[in-house]
Symmetry: C2
Subunit: 163 residues, 2 copies
């Protein structure tokens, strides 16, 4: 008998629970501790966050009050992203702010939870809260979903390598 | 004949135009260019922002995308504040984010406009937008209004000294 095939985790589910929020759900074929590790260790983040682009992690202080700043070097130029940690509860919950240098001062609050599904898989849920509906809709129409799915596919590979 | 007496500028007016905003209005007995200078020059800011407390200006890049960080050394301890400039239009408008180290990742967007009243006075209007009503109400009950009026009284003195 062969080992049971793992189903591909597939694309993230994107919904808009309120007029200022985006909710993202994605299942990963890895235990929660391993997903947490891949999302907080700079050497691992640099392997998936940039979707194949070089990612320079200028700052990453994974603790309440800590700052983070990533710079992605892609074919379309250099893009900086940064924010600050509001809450860090390993291995299950992070609340952090997010802004892109291209729209400085437009700040999203991302609440990320990792749920242990009990079968070796982990469900990631991220709720993003914007200051206005216009900012939320701008993010939705920015190609965010494509980029996110590319990042998460790269994260699948990182997680498989850790297994 | 004596020179006409200047009326004292008095306390700021604080209102809540929506359930996530605070609006502050305050008149200063100085021309707009001088108020702008006192609000953007670090040597002048350090004379009024801290209301008599030592203020260390760690970073102040008054331009779109620039960061700012001030650390106030008071009797009750050391308090850091920081944010980023979304828009800077001298001498009339600044949009910038604001957060206090004590509540990291809770980000307010402050839109400040300076109106030239044409009689040597300037009206400052600041609208602060919060992510939630709870955060807005937390700010209102924090003693913010007292601290702000102390800062603006100190700013009156700085402006008088520039005259």
């Amino acid at each position: 008998m062969s080992k049971p095939e793992r189903q591909p985790a597939g694309a993230a589910t994107v919904t808009t629970p309120t007029d200022r929020e985006i909710r993202i759900e994605r299942i990963f074929n890895a235990p929660r501790d391993r997903v947490w590790q891949a999302m907080t260790d700079p050497d691992l983040i640099s392997q998936w966050w940039g979707r194949g682009n070089e990612l320079v992690i200028e700052r990453l202080e994974v603790e309440r009050g800590g700052h983070w700043r990533f710079v992605e070097h892609g074919a379309d130029g250099v893009h900086g992203f940064e924010g600050r940690f509001r809450e860090v509860t390993a291995p299950e919950r992070v609340v952090q702010t997010f802004e892109w240098d291209g729209m400085p001062g437009y700040v999203v609050v991302n609440t990320m939870t990792l749920e242990d599904l009990g079968d070796g898989r982990t469900k990631l849920v991220t709720v993003s809260l914007f200051h206005t509906t216009e900012e939320r809709d701008g993010m939705l129409s920015s190609g965010m979903e494509i980029g996110m799915n590319q990042s998460y596919a790269a994260l699948d590979e990182v997680l498989a390598g850790l297994g």
